[in-house]
Symmetry: C2
Subunit: 381 residues, 2 copies
């Protein structure tokens, strides 16, 4: 395994990356000398990787194993309370370590449990999805959802370390690889324009990447985060740019009730954000087309998911958690927009722009409902 | 109103104290220019003070009012999720301020809601009990209970300010004034021995203190916290000493299911801690007697509450949240003990001592069950 260090202002933690390195992950965990280890995973990952990891770990240390249901709906305060209570009964204490084996949902859930138990104990990410390995783990943010919005409740808690075995990504369905690639595309469009040529030549519609390619992708993702978060560990200033595509994306994801991968929803959100910026005269046609080209090459169908209405998305947008960064009227939405590739719009340190909700709605209708003609007609009436 | 500054390492916030100063509290709140104010209180305080405060505030600013049930059982993750969800629907955002009007339970609940919403928004304490005004508000710790133990889930979140109107304390039942005085006694016994003469002469069995006396008491409490926490903002080192009496106290409080005021439970916990230290040869008889004298003068009945068994207390002790600070065996309990008045036992920076559970049990039986003779006989068999 080789090592990267993520430094976010005064907070620092190591990321170890390797291929077929389960035993090294176990010895890294064991080196923490925890009073006990509490592995959290979901049903799918428990059978693929986490079960084996737990078996190996428990031969060397006191360990317990917690399997939660798959899906976004378990990322709730109820699950936090339920699992934390069980862990206390199983003897977790301040010297214990929580180990999250799974994707971003498991990482966030375990991160918040570790943040809140005894007001903060150690936790380790063992990401098993591309999006988690290349993006989610590079953050101090932990959060769960409320039914009225994603990630509304949470806090900051630094992982002790991130341990990545790229061979875990081999068992992913290709939609999950694509889902992770949307964040890589987002990073390139917003802060790492130098990676655009690589994406233009390297994006594969079948999402079938080699170990070496995955290593490059994961490191590119982590380094893009590092680049901005080194000066903004709480992601409330410059690093808000990583929320690009997430305003509309989160609303779509929530409206689709777990049926759309996170990355795909963000992909749709970027299409809308680019359209908004274009209509405002911020983004040129070449950059707008680049959005469409890269996202389609990653397999995006530019259409609202079946069953998701524009009205549902607009209702959820009005409760987006970036509200309050700016003094927004009820009919305005705070969005991250681009003035060009690699050039976030808005003042330095606060890349947010207030956009009329009616414009956002019109862009969603035009880009994502396939009723461009009708919407255009209506808007002219 | 006059102002104290609490400085805990790099964190600092002001405490404003006055008498009959509701209007000044309102203007202090208004000066925060919040996008909206969200007042949280309980049923009793809503009718006494919080309702009036909310009425006045809402004539000047956008405000909402949230009343939760009285009692420790609402200090749960369920309440946090329920109230937070309602607040989001009412339009709370990152520029909003949460205002806790009540005792320690409301302060902790509101503090954790403010800590978790959008990963931390501003909040203000308006304490209405002596224990909250003189003790609870001088802390960055926010937490809720699990059914298996008190304060097991929480995080650190600094109040923006504390606004105290001592006339609010006038409506308290005298048991609540006494309850607060237990923490003042605890501070004197552990870190502020200079206040012992004041307590010896000033403690009133009828707990009927003047405004001036209350001012002295509140400031003494806050300054004792400041004295230790200036070097230990997370209360994980030297400031653990403030948990004196809380190990057994929390267990009694939990076992009594809300029927015993927090301070009274801590008073009983101090009796047990002093007995343990005495049996270990740490605490001399004069200091042991001082514990009994001060606590009785504050009205303490030195007896387990009706319906609370030694077995129940011992079971809860085994899950005390100070476990894990030290490498404890299952039959050991980590306690704060004194080697003398103002002299915490144990190493500097970690005033904890491991005590055999059997000794603690014996001390509880001897001191708190009125079966001293029987227990003594049994222990000799």
């Amino acid at each position: 395994m080789h090592k990267l260090r993520l430094q976010f202002e005064d907070e620092c933690y190591p990321v170890w990356i390797g291929v077929r390195c389960m035993d090294k992950i176990i010895s890294n965990l064991h080196a923490l000398s925890a009073s006990s280890y509490h592995v959290i995973t979901d049903k799918t990952v428990s059978q693929l990787h986490a079960g084996i990891l737990f078996e190996k770990l428990s031969t060397q240390a006191r360990a317990s194993f917690w399997v939660v249901d798959n899906g976004e709906s378990i990322k709730s305060l109820e699950t936090v309370g339920y699992v934390a209570q069980k862990m206390v009964k199983a003897g977790i204490d301040r010297g214990s370590v929580v180990v999250a084996v799974g994707g971003g949902i498991i990482g966030n859930l375990a991160g918040l449990i570790a943040a809140l138990l005894f007001r903060g104990i150690r936790f380790i990410h063992v990401p098993t999805t591309l999006i988690a390995a290349s993006d989610s783990v590079a953050s101090l943010k932990q959060a769960v959802n409320l039914s009225v919005g994603k990630n509304l409740l949470g806090c900051f808690h630094k992982p002790t370390a991130v341990l990545i075995d790229l061979s875990f990504l081999r068992t992913l369905p290709l939609t999950q690889i694509r889902s992770g690639m949307y964040e890589i595309i987002k990073n390139a469009l917003t802060v790492a324009a130098e990676n655009i040529p690589l994406l233009e030549s390297g994006l594969k519609q079948d999402a079938n990447y080699s170990d070496t390619e995955l290593m490059v992708i994961v490191e590119a993702g982590l380094l893009a985060k590092q680049k901005v978060m080194k000066a903004d560990k709480y992601e409330r200033k410059e690093a808000l740019v990583f929320e690009y595509g997430h305003t509309v994306g989160h609303a779509i994801e929530l409206a689709a009730d777990g049926r759309v991968p996170h990355g795909e929803a963000v992909g749709l959100g970027m299409i809308v954000a680019a359209e908004v910026a274009s209509r405002l005269g911020r983004l040129c046609d070449a950059d707008l087309n680049l959005h469409h080209r890269l996202l389609r090459r990653n397999g995006l169908t530019i259409q609202l998911p079946v069953g998701v209405t524009v009205a549902a998305v607009m209702a959820l947008l009005s409760m987006d958690n970036k509200r309050g960064y700016l003094c927004a009227r009820p009919d305005q939405i705070a969005m991250i927009l681009l003035d060009g590739v690699g050039v976030p719009a808005g003042p330095v340190g606060r890349p947010l722009v207030l956009v009329d909700a009616s414009l956002v709605q019109s862009c969603i209708e035009n880009c994502l409902t396939g009723i461009r003609g009708i919407a255009a007609q209506e808007s002219r009436q």
